[in-house]
Symmetry: C2
Amino acid sequence: MNWNRNRTDFRMGSISETGEFAFINRIQALFPTSADVLHGPGDDCAVVRVGDRIQLVSTDASVEGVHFRRNWTTHYDIGWKAVAAALSDIAAMGGQPQFVLTSIAIPTSESIDDLESLYKGVADAASACEAVVIGGDTTQSPSGLMIDVTVIGEALNNGFILRKGAQSGDMLVIIGTPGRSRAGLLALQNNIDSPEVIRAHNHPTPRITEGLWLSEHPHVRAMIDVSDGIAQDAGHIAKASGIGVGMTSASVAIDPELLTLCMELDESIPDLVFTGGEDYELAFAVDPDHSLELIENFRRTFNLPSYAIGAFSDKIDGVTIDGNPVEHRGYDHFRPST
Amino acid sequence: MNWNRNRTDFRMGSISETGEFAFINRIQALFPTSADVLHGPGDDCAVVRVGDRIQLVSTDASVEGVHFRRNWTTHYDIGWKAVAAALSDIAAMGGQPQFVLTSIAIPTSESIDDLESLYKGVADAASACEAVVIGGDTTQSPSGLMIDVTVIGEALNNGFILRKGAQSGDMLVIIGTPGRSRAGLLALQNNIDSPEVIRAHNHPTPRITEGLWLSEHPHVRAMIDVSDGIAQDAGHIAKASGIGVGMTSASVAIDPELLTLCMELDESIPDLVFTGGEDYELAFAVDPDHSLELIENFRRTFNLPSYAIGAFSDKIDGVTIDGNPVEHRGYDHFRPST
């Protein structure tokens, strides 16, 4: 689990008995806060005041065999994706990344060239988002690679968007092409040569510029990055906002990249979009009177898909798809499949 | 290795062939910097400008079987020590800790009660230094526990002390009771009931208040925390300052806690002080004209030992003890002994 993201990381013996959220509540109760902490654990980033600035901070671990498998990706992309996933938390708040630190545990057998490739991926992912790597730790790992990335960003003009704030009637809008990352994983698992979606899985790009643009839009009321599938991530917005959210399969845009692959694999595109993980696209709640205008502006500005996939409602309890309640569907980080 | 601390963490096949420092140089060359980064990798913390404030940031990993063994410590102390070790990097720059994030990889067999104890140790170590835990990530570990801690602090009045800055003739002064942590480790390894030194090993206290006090002293020119033994850590100050450092065994204060234990184990106190690790005391370079006055003030203020153990000199190449050159002696994080 990520306290700043509530990913469903736990499917394990003793912890799963207590339940992930009960455990988070138990440990969060241990932590006092301070006046400089505007938002502690519970959102994509912590939000803290530093002098006259507002800073966004998050940490995100990638573990071999849990989050990635080295036979399906390059060392360069292992480094890139670990940093991109962490930076996506800054995008989810509409912030500008500034600094990155990486702590890497390395098996003794790792080659210098592979490690250098990994660090090149780290450096390039940071640079792509105009952040710089300011430090890190590298230590021995008794088993596989593990990369922990801490990102620090700034809320420009002190503006940032939380998960909470969605109102009943708000549209749920997504940007980009969610579902591709899970499709890429399926392609890798089934040995299908589908470079576009495999790249989406191994080399995701955080939506920093798009997040900044959305954070300046007065009618965007809540936002999250799509790391666990929209069903789960939209549910996080709904829960934080104290309402529910309903989505419809018919709203899902047909991504031509996914179409052939889904037919070949007998998968449904809506399923990939609703429950696929690690897309690092953005999903947000917007005032319904301004959603069409925003979507059009967004498409024109970024030449990227964007569409409404549902609506928030105080008449809905939790998350529904086509009217049916959804129980925490989404990417399961405990399935060692990537 | 810790880029912000240059700990000798690598004794492994392929990396040790290239050499730790050569590898650090190779990867650091990959990372561009920015105007907001006052000091990047190479000191105890990175130093960055955030608006009108100066921030100190560091990350520090603790790996089971490499940095700790669970049969020699409690879960509470595993959490405490991981955070204390990271916060010590803020102390080493004379900063005030503010925020802590912890990323913890957990084996599936871990019990909820043990985990809660670990997080209690995390929370208490942060609180003891007036810092708050603002976020984290918890994920599955395929092998042992791993805790990565990121600490963020502030340079009060924008003052901080680097490793570089020592001048030829400066005294090398240490505070506290270094050597106790290694003594505690030896006690654990040899099944000797010596609670004071075992506590020094399992439950170290970062010298935050002392570091802040020293950072306000105009004649303290360079500082480091003693994490790898004074021989190595004083060597880091010397190297960063472009000079050498000479120490003498006769200067080492006889710590009564160590005396009996050293006799029982046939160990020498100076050896423990020079090469023991994880003390998290502070060592610094001070203008020789003000060193006695500073030491007296320090002792009076904190009721803690403090004494000169050597001097910096442009006539010395590297590190000497009693006139003999020292090759990187110090705590070896690749010896799975703690």
